[in-house]
């Protein structure tokens, strides 16, 4: 017997921390860590459901595995892109401007 409320609380907490991590960090890899926390929360949620509420259906558990694997694939591509970013810009700062559109300028013609 277990109280599912506990893992659910942890899910909420991890998700919140993940969100905080994503928003509070400048370093791209650290933002990635936030995302991992978010995914961890999702995994925990799925596992909890699989173990306490799915009535023996293996679906949620398998979904956890899929999420973990997808996350791995994502991380691979993400890190490759971040490396490229680092090579291109010399930093992995997510506070750097990504867009080069002009600021201000002409307002379009009348509406």
């Amino acid at each position: 017997m277990i109280r599912p409320a506990l893992p659910y609380l942890l899910v909420a907490l991890l998700a919140g921390l993940g969100a905080y991590g994503i928003l509070a960090r400048r370093h791209a890899v650290l933002v990635l860590i936030g995302v991992e926390l978010l995914l961890g929360a999702a995994g925990l949620l799925l596992v909890t459901v699989a173990q306490t509420g799915a009535g023996g259906d293996a679906g949620p558990a398998v979904l956890t595995l899929f999420v973990i694997t997808i996350a791995a694939a994502e991380v691979v591509v993400a890190l490759a892109v971040l490396l490229a970013l680092y090579r291109a810009r010399g930093h992995v700062d997510l506070h750097a401007e990504l867009d080069d559109r002009p600021r201000g300028g002409e307002v379009g013609d009348r509406a």
Partner: protein
């Protein structure tokens, strides 16, 4: 439990995947070639399209199923709407491939092979992404949905970053920036999607979409739906998940932008349709979230598009606005709404493809001018580059005008009008008046957006409208005129582009004379 494989049904997905694998294998076997990969890719996409085609005409309610369990559930099920979306995605991808053909088959700097062996990689990426897109709307469970969605997203990130080595270095660096913008958003969105999947499972106890007729925790289901929608909405560029759109669109190579603006949306909408259909079977749930997203998207998208001075950015924001229209019918969570959204998306797809093809063609003519453009890369796609296009190249301007009118929903582009009708109908059936009024006002706002472009197209050259879009390119005011003048005598547009323009225009004209309505 025995799984009933039915590979013919799954062929629309398998064909591009197989082509992708073949491309990689051919690259291993015969390195250094460029064109064969593209031909293979085209074949794979065509094969997929051919496989999806029969599904379009199946009677309503029937599905082409694959990978079914004895209890009737299928991991892959494509009804007519799904097939239509798949067909659209595959053909759209084909258009993108043709659009990218010269670039992807071109030699690298110094005339040799691109150091990355770019042609096979980008082709494979395009094919797998398309396979993912095609798989999404047919997904029968959360797992398939998540995986195929990621399959549709990850390669596009890389496609944005993988640009030609002959490009100027700053421009290539910008492409990486664009990729980062897309990447971060997609990562976070996937996190949300995963959370949503978890909530879905928590609410229904199952990871399958079918059979959720009764739920123990409807509020969890709503939460799950919100999270799933949020995770999907970034792909369709709905506000507030849209921020990557203008950045990435402007940074990516034009064909990739085209892909993101068209084919990618099919995945997003496919996912939404799957979710909405699953929700629709549950009694008494409404999804205010989608309504809010739709309203915000079209309003913000149109307002901001109103001030853009660059064709690609304008199209980016118009994509945002159109995302609102795609989402609009889904707010009612009915299966009719799903087909309405699908139908709208198909029209949007054709019109946007056509617009991008013309933008590419115009940019090509500007690019070949002998003047090196100090105004930067924006000049080729600036609205100012389209000044006087109606006189200079009516055969490009008229299709573009038709595409824009379709997006705006104004006759003579009846296809666009009917699409708007289709999108609005469910909302009014539901009597969600506030949403309907917002949508109605956005019709006007949208027309204002596309009208700006049309005005530029129709304006006579050298007309004294100095304060208009002519100043778009900032410092390059003089250059604009020069490049535009070049355009009139500039190089001929590639035959492939003409074919694309012709075909897409024919589609729109046909759709205007005999509108499809809902699928």
């Amino acid at each position: 439990m025995r799984l009933q494989l039915d590979l013919v049904a799954v062929l629309p997905v398998l064909a591009p995947v197989l082509a992708a694998v073949l491309v990689l294998l051919v690259d291993v076997a015969v390195p250094g070639r460029r064109s064969p990969h593209l031909w293979l890719g085209a074949a794979g996409l065509l094969g997929g399209a051919a496989a999806a085609l029969p599904g379009v005409w199946q009677p309503a309610g029937d599905t082409r199923q694959g990978l079914c369990l004895p209890d009737g559930w299928c991991a892959y099920a494509a009804d007519d709407l799904t097939s239509m979306l798949q067909l659209g995605a595959l053909l759209g991808a084909l258009v993108v491939l043709v659009l990218a053909w010269p670039e992807w088959s071109a030699a690298g700097s110094g005339g040799g092979v691109e150091p990355t062996g770019r042609a096979p990689v980008v082709t494979a990426l395009l094919l797998t992404a398309t396979a993912g897109v095609v798989a999404v709307p047919a997904a029968g469970d959360l797992g398939s949905l998540l995986v195929s969605l990621e399959l549709a997203t990850l390669p596009t990130v890389v496609l944005v970053a993988l640009v030609r080595t002959t490009w100027a270095a700053p421009r290539r660096a910008r492409a990486v920036d664009g990729a980062v913008a897309l990447l971060t958003t997609s990562l976070v969105s996937f996190g949300l999607l995963a959370l949503g999947a978890g909530f879905w499972a928590a609410a229904t106890g199952s990871t399958r979409f079918a059979g959720a007729a009764s739920v123990d925790h409807p509020e969890l289901l709503v939460l799950a739906a919100v999270l799933l929608v949020a995770g999907l909405a970034f792909k369709v560029s709905a506000v507030p998940f849209h921020a990557w759109t203008p950045i990435t669109y402007a940074a990516a190579p034009l064909p990739v932008t085209t892909y993101l603006a068209t084919v990618s949306k099919v995945a997003a909408l496919g996912g939404l349709v799957v979710v909405v259909r699953a929700l629709g079977t549950v009694e008494g749930t409404t999804l205010l979230a989608i309504a809010l997203l739709a309203a915000a998207s079209m309003t913000v998208g149109n307002l901001v598009a109103l001030t853009q001075q660059d064709a690609v950015r304008l199209l980016a924001w118009s994509t945002v606005a159109q995302a609102g229209w795609v989402l609009l019918p889904l707010a009612t969570l009915s299966s009719r709404a799903a087909s309405a959204a699908g139908s709208y998306l198909v029209v949007y797809l054709v019109a946007t493809l056509l617009a991008f093809v013309v933008v590419v063609a115009v940019a090509g003519t500007v690019r070949h001018g002998p003047v090196e453009d100090p105004a930067g890369p924006a000049a080729a796609t600036a609205l100012a580059a389209h000044r006087g296009l109606l006189r200079a190249r009516p055969l490009l301007a008229v299709p573009l005008g038709l595409a824009l009118l379709t997006l705006a929903g104004l006759p003579p582009a009846v296809a666009g009008v009917v699409a708007k009708v289709v999108a609005l109908r469910p909302v009014l059936g539901d009597e969600t008046w506030w949403l309907a009024v917002v949508a109605a006002l956005n019709v006007a706002l949208g027309i204002a957006v596309y009208l700006r472009w049309l005005v530029v197209l129709a304006s006579s050259e050298g007309s004294p409208q100095g304060e208009g879009p002519a100043a778009a390119a900032g410092a390059g005011g003089d250059t604009d005129v020069r490049t535009t003048v070049e355009a009139t005598t500039g190089p001929a547009v590639d035959v492939r582009l003409w074919v694309l323009v012709g075909l897409l225009t024919a589609l729109l004209v046909l759709g205007s004379i005999v509108p499809l309505g809902t699928i």
